[in-house]
Amino acid sequence: MEQPLLEINNLKTHFKTERGRVTAVDGISFSVEKGEILGVVGESGCGKSVTAQSILRLFDEKYTASYEGEIKLQGENLLQLSKAEMEKIRGNEVSMIFQDPLSSLNPVFTIGYQLMETIRIHQNRTKKQARQMAIDLLRMTGIPSPEKRVSEYPHQLSGGMRQRVMIAMALACKPKLLIADEPTTALDVTIQAQILDLMLELNEELGMAVVFITHDLGVVAEVCTRVVVMYLGQVVEEANVEELFTTPLHPYTKGLMKAIPQMDGDRSQKLNVIGGTVPALNAIPSGCRFASRCEFANDLCKEKAPDLQVHEGNHKVRCWHYAEISNKEAARHA
């Protein structure tokens, strides 16, 4: 098999807090193939954003964060690179867009400046060339009259436009991997649709891989080819998108899917409820992390933490008795 573009092995991200060390991401492993769109989905606090930012080592390693494990980009472990080497990767090989496009753009510099900065850090261009490139990039992301826009400031643009700028900036150096951290959460549905279309288009056109982080299963279904489901700092399930939506295995994934109101079909049915709340990061249960909220949990679950096991192909799940559960459910429906 071809070497994956990105391979994460047992990544752990620890933070120093006032209440001691906290492990926000605890042993994550997954890989991203060239050109694919991998969705990382989960509820707030599950560690999906931390994972995203850990890939680029964006946390302050001197005072707050520390990493463990491996993040291999085309075989090279990013966690072992020097600061300067890391800077060469960022924005060049791997780039990133964030949830809130307003706060993610520096308010005091023009859009052109911020785009040109990215270009000139990684490519040897004159100011003039960089400016032209910036305009081209803006045009590519569908911003009208980009010649004018380059000299505007972020606050002068609408939310959707800003996210387009962020995308343009992320794509400036034609990266191999784009990490999109909830890129449409702050946007209206109609604008979200535009941005999602744009991302799909660009993915096809440029062939870069995307790690798409979101809490919205709908978005995942629309854009991703493969999905990783996270819960409390761990991957609980991983599968191709069709497989995940047709045959989810983990009780959490299942619960989540049934908790969403549907756009068609019977609406008189009650929504599914996952009882309880997510445990705090400094009070992680010793056994299965989902046990306290799982209706199928037994003593084993409470005592021993399950590993991520392969169900079939690239469908993986972290549950002691996912098979029984599926059977039970099938029986119930039948």
Binding site: S44, D188, V189, T190, I191, Q192, G218, A259, M263, I274
Partner: protein
């Protein structure tokens, strides 16, 4: 679902809210933002009317204007055949007991310095319901009904999670035994698993308390799930209104169609035809002439640019404001 002959409880006619904006750069001195522009609808007893739209469409303003949290610029709101917009503050207080609101942000809608029991009790105090001891009991009772423990009474908001706080918000709205509930995005900002808890609870309570609700949300699927009827707003105007199933299965307004098609669906295999609207929502400071949607409408005609479309009832209880149907 209410039957056809359900009596109306709240009639909103031509509701308007214009904000004047003193812009430094604007040429005219007082520009007006028409946040809510001539919106009319009726709430029938026992039903839930959903109000959907994207940010800035005026749905929240509508909700607030009904309670006069924002004083409306025009229109009438008939409750018990009286125009509540014309009431003096003292008279309006009685209406406020009957019309309660649940707010979007469960983190900021509770006073951080007041124990939640006291917060809930305040409504009783204001409306002089019960005596001291009774009030405490009523509050304990309602806490139980929204799924909280009575010892939660003495805790502060920061000790609760988002979902729990929204339960407190519900308790506060329900404690004075209102007949109308205005829910402003009560489940947004919550995780899916919590959101479902709140939506279920809401449905239960609506039955228990025989409530009539106005449910404001940007989330189409949530609105579909909870409402009996749905109104779609765009830039301060009501574009289409119909029973939920009708609207979702057979939307007629181009905007509604686009909106529905834009919602990502958590299912695979069924690739729908998506209508992607071009451009952005125009600035409410400088709204388009004629039909307010014509700048983005894939079916825009010449007439759309000049004439504001009238509301037409194309079917029983299905109205739409679009030149395609007039």
């Amino acid at each position: 679902m209410p039957n056809q002959q359900a009596e109306s409880i709240l009639q909103v006619q031509g509701l308007k809210k214009y904000f004047s904006v003193k812009g430094f750069r604007s040429k005219s001195k007082n520009q007006q933002v028409k946040a809510v522009d001539d919106v009319s609808f009726t709430l029938y007893k026992g039903e839930t009317l959903g109000l959907v739209g994207e940010s800035g469409c005026g749905k929240s303003t509508t909700g607030r204007a009904l309670l006069r949290l924002i004083e409306p610029s025009g229109g009438t709101v008939l409750y018990n055949n009286e125009d509540i917009l014309k009431k003096s503050p003292r008279e309006f207080r009685k209406v406020q007991k009957d019309m309660q609101m649940v707010f979007q942000d469960p983190f900021s809608s509770l006073n951080p310095r007041i124990r939640i029991g006291e917060s809930i009790k305040e409504s009783l105090t204001i409306h002089s319901i019960g005596n001291r001891n009774e009030r405490e009991e009523i509050v304990m009772d309602i806490l139980g009904k929204v799924g909280l423990r009575s010892d939660h009474y003495f805790r502060f908001p920061h000790e609760f999670s988002g979902g729990q706080r929204q339960r407190i918000g519900l308790a506060r709205a329900l404690v004075a035994d209102p007949s109308i509930l205005i829910l402003d995005e009560p489940a947004s900002g919550l995780d899916v698993s919590i959101q479902s808890q709140i939506l279920n609870l809401l449905q239960e309570l609506q039955d228990d308390f025989k409530l009539t609700s106005l449910f404001i949300s940007h989330d189409m699927s949530v609105v579909r799930h909870i409402s009996d009827r749905v109104g779609v707003m765009y830039l301060g105007k009501l574009m289409e209104e119909a029973d939920t199933d009708t609207l979702f299965s057979n939307p007629v307004h181009p905007y509604t169609k686009a909106l529905l098609s834009a919602v990502p669906i958590a299912k695979v295999g069924k690739k729908r035809e998506r209508i992607v609207l071009k451009g952005e929502i125009p600035s409410p400071l400088n709204p388009p002439s004629g039909c307010i949607f014509h700048t983005r409408c894939p079916f825009a005609m010449d007439v759309c640019k000049q004439v504001v479309p009238e509301k037409v009832e194309i079917q029983d209880r299905h109205t739409v404001a679009c030149h395609l149907y007039s």
